[in-house]
Symmetry: C2
Subunit: 216 residues, 2 copies
């Protein structure tokens, strides 16, 4: 299965700016990407990096450059597969799924359906599999709803994968606790190295950063 | 399977106070509870309400009253089952899992293991199954980690269920978007009735409340 991992090379993870410096965000995004690519390979698939610019990364993935916005770049891949009437499915897995495991990806890749969606928190679509030549993506807004509608419109059978690991994209400071609790090796190690640790509150566990490691 | 649903009768959902009045929080908590109990019954199990005080609710569940803190009240149930050397498992499912479906609960109830955990966001334990006589709960802090440790200490085989629906407890205003996107019938209808609708942002979808329906 062709597994496309979109990656914004130049401006990764701006919504993490309250917690991490630009250099840290860049390094953390690459750590998550490496964890995601490893989980994809361990699930028996081959990741292809869909990067917005040339990038020198050793994450064990082929690289395809496309500087267009996310949905257009992904749709170019889906369109090419559809034109080939390619029996092979195309999967799209976001690069910030730091909790993704081979088992969670196996459930995604192995699910039946012309279109398989893994919803993300806040209405997103964190991962999908497309086996229908006419299915296209639209990642703006509540994309999970839009993708259900698009699947209906093209007559594609739809399956949803119910996975906490695939639902957890790491976009905001509050998400860092999930990486420390459940995350992949490089992502978690990065956060620990720069001083993050879990902080217990009356509600959900959050993170705090040790003095002396504060970002500039 | 005995499925215990803890429910705080008098002070439900205080962390939702920025979004809902006390009366609304009370009504919303009851709507979520009714959705959860229905999903449990539709999964073929019988819910028992573990309530902090007598409560007049028509949610199709037996009621057990225990005014002690959550962990002590749940441990009393586990201890009683353990003393009976009861071959039947005890499940504990939180009352604010407004996204729970019979399919998600089937995965929980049907998973092998002396202890089965469904982690919640922020380190919590939103649902579990205990089949080991010595397993006990401790819901304070990062309970998911503590429950893994407790299972190890008593020699119980541990299984984790990876479910977005079971990971999503509804505690904070930001969680309301998930109810509108994926939630059960009564919970979603309640929020729609009091004026909440989805609001698209640059990041995750959130909620906004229509003017004229403002709380307070």
């Amino acid at each position: 299965m062709q597994v496309v991992v979109p990656f914004a090379v130049d401006s990764p993870k701006t919504r993490l700016s309250p917690a991490l410096t630009p250099d840290e965000r860049r390094a953390f995004a690459r750590a998550m990407l490496a964890d995601v690519c490893e989980a994809i390979r361990d699930a028996g698939a081959e990741p292809t990096l869909l990067a917005t610019a040339p990038v020198d990364l050793d994450v064990g993935a082929d690289v395809r450059i496309d500087d267009r916005p996310l949905s257009r770049a992904v749709n170019a891949v889906l369109s090419a597969a559809g034109e080939r009437r390619d029996p092979e499915a195309v999967a799209v897995v976001m690069a910030d799924l730091a909790l993704a495991t081979p088992a969670a990806l196996d459930r995604l890749f192995g699910a039946d359906g012309d279109v398989v969606l893994a919803p993300g928190r806040g209405g997103g679509t964190n991962a999908l599999v497309a086996r229908h030549p006419d299915f296209r993506v639209d990642y703006h807004g509540a994309s999970c709803r839009d993708h259900r509608r698009i699947a209906r419109e093209v007559g594609a059978d739809l399956t949803t994968v119910d996975s906490f690991r695939l639902a957890t994209d790491v976009d905001e400071p509050g998400d860092l606790a999930e990486v420390l609790l459940h995350g992949g090796g490089r992502s978690r190690a990065f956060l620990e190295d720069v001083g993050f640790e879990l902080a217990t509150t009356d509600g959900r566990v959050t993170v705090e950063r040790r003095p002396g490691d504060a970002s500039g």
